[in-house]
């Protein structure tokens, strides 16, 4: 067992994270990149402070107690600190280790934590169960039943309910065809990742993704047997479920058969790109082939004869695209290539919107504060469209637009490209 020379005691919990915490030399360049630090001004709620807590726990200088449990939950996991960190501290991995330690010690209590655990382990990974649950919710919403029972719900559940999105019509909640041929000369073959929430809440984005890829010259396959990527489970500290889900996808996709495994959800893309971390030695080829849809399209170039989409658009970086995958230019380049559309910058596009997986449900107060900051920046520009490539961000930004009274339509970048392609004949 490794020991900490600082006090000679064996490393306890977080021993696995210990070496990486030592990369931090306390320079503080991460501070202002951190949304919770910006909101609270507390060192304890900053990346540097949280790494210090992790190191303290590993060295046995402080217990795995209240503060680190709270901070592990309050952290968005947006990884903006990784972009800011000159030392390359793998903060996202450290956070997952910490959350796993907290989960193992069974230190998170309360109704929100219980719902989070069961939903992530027993519902989200199972497409059929998820589909029926969403059906149930859609039915309840249609009949107004959910609002009827609302007064009976505990306060915490009521807050969560208020944040639930409107379920799209069933016509938009389908699965994708197994194969879609390229339009015109074929320039490559790609596999598309469908996701778990995407087909239920953003079937229109999945459909647009396939149309745009095909129009750009790609044969598109959608392998059977794929499913939830396991990101949310890993983020919440359930490493076992996360590993099982990653394994299922590694088995479903054949990296040798395609030029790229295309993902349109930034959170999933980040987890899949890092699948080799959860499955050492088993997922290298898989992880290497994973690309965000914007990268594949920007590299290939969009069809030349795009139609017009009139308006201004603000691009808002999903944290798990810009910070976890380092992709920020391709989506912008694509939007700029659409005739009629003007890309306008807003202040702090790389700051988290407060969605962060299910953070808006588990930490509603902080999430709302972070969203308000984002909405202030967007209001100042008042665009016609707000584009972002991640389902959580799309839902959160839609909530923000409604609550803060903006007129913008919230869309995935591929939807705007899809519209430009659909408008071709009009030219």
């Amino acid at each position: 067992m490794t020991t900490s020379p600082e006090n000679g005691t064996p490393l306890g919990v977080l021993a696995a994270a210990y070496e990486s915490t030592l990369d931090c030399v306390h320079c503080g360049l991460c501070l202002t990149a951190c949304p919770t630090y910006r909101e609270t001004g507390r060192e304890t709620s900053s990346p540097r402070g949280r790494i210090y807590l992790m190191r303290g726990v590993a060295e046995g200088r402080i217990p795995l107690g209240e503060t680190i449990v709270e901070e592990a939950a309050l952290c968005l996991g947006c990884r903006a600190c990784e972009t800011a960190c000159p030392a390359g501290v793998p903060y996202g991995a450290l956070l997952e280790e910490t959350r796993a330690a907290v989960a193992d010690a069974d230190l998170r209590t309360g109704i929100a934590a219980r719902i989070e655990r069961s939903a992530l382990a027993d519902l989200v990974p199972h497409p059929r169960r998820l589909h029926w649950a969403v059906n149930l919710l859609a039915g309840a919403q249609r009949l107004g039943l959910d609002r009827l029972v609302r007064p009976l719900m505990p306060q915490r559940l009521r807050e969560m309910h208020a944040l639930l999105p409107q379920i799209p019509p069933s016509s938009e909640r389908g699965r994708l065809p197994a194969f879609t041929p390229a339009e015109g000369p074929t320039r490559g073959r790609v596999a598309v990742f469908e996701g778990c929430i995407m087909p239920e809440m953003f079937g229109r984005v999945n459909a647009a993704t396939v149309r745009v890829l095909a129009a750009s010259g790609f044969d598109v396959v959608v392998p059977q047997g794929q499913g939830c990527c396991g990101a949310l489970q890993a983020h919440s500290g359930d490493a076992t479920t996360a590993r099982a889900l990653a394994s299922r996808n590694v088995a479903a996709f054949d990296p040798a058969d395609v030029d790229a495994i295309v993902v349109n959800s930034a959170g999933c893309g980040a987890a899949m790109r890092e699948a080799d971390h959860v499955l050492p030695g088993e997922a290298d080829d898989f992880a290497r082939k994973v690309r965000d849809v914007s990268e594949v399209l920007a590299e290939a170039g969009l069809p030349r004869d795009l139609g017009r989409v009139e308006g201004t658009v603000c691009y808002d970086d999903p944290c798990h695209l810009i910070h976890a995958q380092g992709v920020s230019l391709p989506p912008r380049a694509l939007l700029e290539a659409i005739p009629g559309l003007t890309l306008v910058a807003h202040d702090d596009p790389g700051g988290c919107c407060g969605a962060a997986g299910i953070y808006n449900l588990t930490q509603p107060e902080m999430s709302a504060r972070i969203l308000a900051r984002k909405m202030d920046a967007l209001s100042a520009v008042a665009p016609d469209f707000i584009a972002s490539g991640n389902p959580g961000c799309l839902m959160q930004l839609s909530t923000g637009v409604a609550v803060h009274g903006l007129q913008a339509e919230v869309v995935h970048p591929v939807e705007l490209i899809d519209r430009a392609i659909a408008a071709r004949s009009a030219n």
């Binding site: 900490s4 020379p5 600082e6 030592l22 990369d23 931090c24 030399v25 306390h26 320079c27 503080g28 360049l29 991460c30 501070l31 202002t32 001004g41 507390r42 060192e43 304890t44 402070g49 210090y52 807590l53 303290g56 200088r61 402080i62 217990p63 107690g65 209240e66 503060t67 680190i68 990784e82 972009t83 800011a84 960190c85 000159p86 030392a87 390359g88 501290v89």
Partner: protein
């Protein structure tokens, strides 16, 4: 515990941290070598809360320590003797910007880079640019009289502060200086800037804003070694040129940065690079670039480049400013030294600094403000290795001694703090230190405001026992 209740009544539950693990996080600032745990951390929202906190601390005879972002490198924001940390992060409003008279009034928690960003649309900027500028606060900059690469042409923080609002250790609020600038009577603004939080808590700062220069050129001289790069600096300065900045980055640092997200495509095989920035009218900048190129080449530069565009320019500077943090790749801890020597002695001092590092078997690197003669020998170490720590401290002291012997000083911009308090005697006599202590006690007779900083702890007990030295008789007002 009565103090905690009193503080809680002032700042509310949301504005105070008292749990052991929370206080543990506040045990160090950017200098992890010296640590001390506070009894509480409070986060006031305005001046009135600061006054009430200060009065409460005094009433309970507990010292207090002002803190900004905690990026300082001399332990200035560490509660080395315990007490309450007054964290000023939540006082982060830009109160007013006057475009015509070119000043801004800001609260102490405003982040340095945010201020320049907020006035960029007026073609103005706030000139002092410490490497930590994306995180450090104006309040902290005032406390430490912070510098930065552009100090060479624009001066340090003290040259840019017009006025201050200061909550004194007895809870009174003073207005020092004014937006009109100039001094009337004693220069109390100049006294407080660089006083390392020992004279009171700054709650508002009036800063000078500087027009953005018409043209900026950032150059990169590639050298085989640090000593050759130092010669080029001497030649440029000796010829009477005043570049905006002249920075040297050595090979070990280049490689650490190039491994990071701050990579700028710097040549990894270079012994050292010299970053020079020239600004002014386009004609003047073009002339400066040509002359600097000649001096660099004459001093042995094997290559000389000018940043092609703004994006490349920004990349060079990001690389320079990410250097400190990037050293985390080499070892768990970093001791960033700070000393100033006469520029003409740079080549010999640098050679001696490297020799000291080698002799003690330490990983020493150099990234520094060469134009000012402001050295930053950085020693990478592991605080868990007690024997290595001894070598780090011994080498550090030797470096300071040779700098002082060469006619230099022990800090250029990081402050004395806890880090260098025991080296003050290398530079000052007992009489000098007595005079400084008298000034300090005029503001803070009870020594409750950031104790344990600046003044030596060894063989000099004035601070711990002022009555014994008769300081009580020093008039306060």
């Amino acid at each position: 515990m009565r103090l905690v209740s009193a503080l809680r009544a002032i700042v509310g539950d949301d504005g105070i941290l008292v749990r052991d693990e929370e206080l543990f996080v506040y045990e160090a600032d950017g200098l992890t070598l010296h640590r001390g745990r506070p009894v509480a951390v409070v986060l006031p929202r305005d001046k009135t809360e600061v006054q009430r906190i200060v009065r409460s601390c005094r009433e309970h005879e507990v010292p207090f320590v002002p803190r900004g972002a905690g990026t300082g490198l001399s332990g200035g924001a560490t509660a080395i003797e315990g007490g309450v940390i007054i964290e000023l992060q939540r006082m982060n409003r830009i109160v007013r910007v006057d475009e015509n008279d070119r000043f801004a009034i800001v609260q102490p928690g405003v982040v340095n880079a945010d201020l320049s960003k907020a006035v960029a649309h007026l073609d103005l900027f706030y000139a002092p640019d410490p490497s930590s500028q994306q995180a450090c606060t104006i309040g902290g900059n005032v406390a430490e009289n912070s510098g930065g690469p552009h100090t060479l042409k624009y001066g340090t923080t003290t040259n840019h502060i017009l006025g201050l609002e200061l909550v004194t250790p007895d809870g009174e609020c003073l207005q020092l200086g004014s937006e009109a600038g100039g001094t009337n009577g004693y220069d109390l603004v100049g006294t407080v800037v660089g006083s390392e939080g020992t004279l009171g808590i700054v709650t508002e700062v009036t800063v000078r804003l500087t027009p953005v220069p018409e043209t900026v050129a950032t150059m990169l001289g590639i050298f085989d070694g640090v000593v050759e790069a130092c010669r080029a600096v001497g030649a440029v300065i000796g010829a009477g040129l005043v570049p905006a900045a002249m920075e040297i980055v050595d090979q070990r640092t280049i490689n650490a940065v190039e491994d990071s997200r701050y990579a700028a495509g710097l040549p990894r095989d270079a012994g050292a690079i010299l970053i020079v920035e020239a600004d002014g009218s386009s004609a003047s900048v073009a002339r400066q670039v040509e002359r600097i190129r000649e001096f660099a080449e004459a001093s042995g530069a094997r290559d000389f480049q000018v940043a092609r565009d703004e994006a490349e320019r920004v990349r060079f500077w990001r690389a320079r400013k990410g250097a400190f943090g990037a050293m985390g790749r080499l070892a768990p801890d970093l001791y960033v030294h700070d000393a100033v020597v006469p520029r003409k002695k740079l080549p010999e001092i640098l050679a001696a600094v490297c020799e000291i590092g080698d002799r003690h078997g330490l990983k020493l690197s150099n990234v520094f403000h060469a134009g000012d003669g402001n050295l930053h020998p950085n020693i990478s170490f592991d605080r868990r290795d007690a024997e290595e720590m001894e070598r780090v401290i011994a080498a550090g002291e030797e470096i300071l001694r040779i700098c002082v012997e060469a006619g230099g000083v022990i800090t250029g911009e990081h402050g004395v703090g806890t880090e260098k308090r025991d080296y003050m005697r290398l530079l000052f006599s007992e009489a000098d230190l007595d005079a400084m202590m008298k000034l300090r006690l005029a503001f803070d007779p009870e020594r409750v405001c950031n104790p344990g900083k600046i003044f030596p702890t060894t063989r000099f007990c004035a601070e711990s026992n002022p009555k014994a030295r008769g300081y009580d008789e020093v008039p306060i007002s």
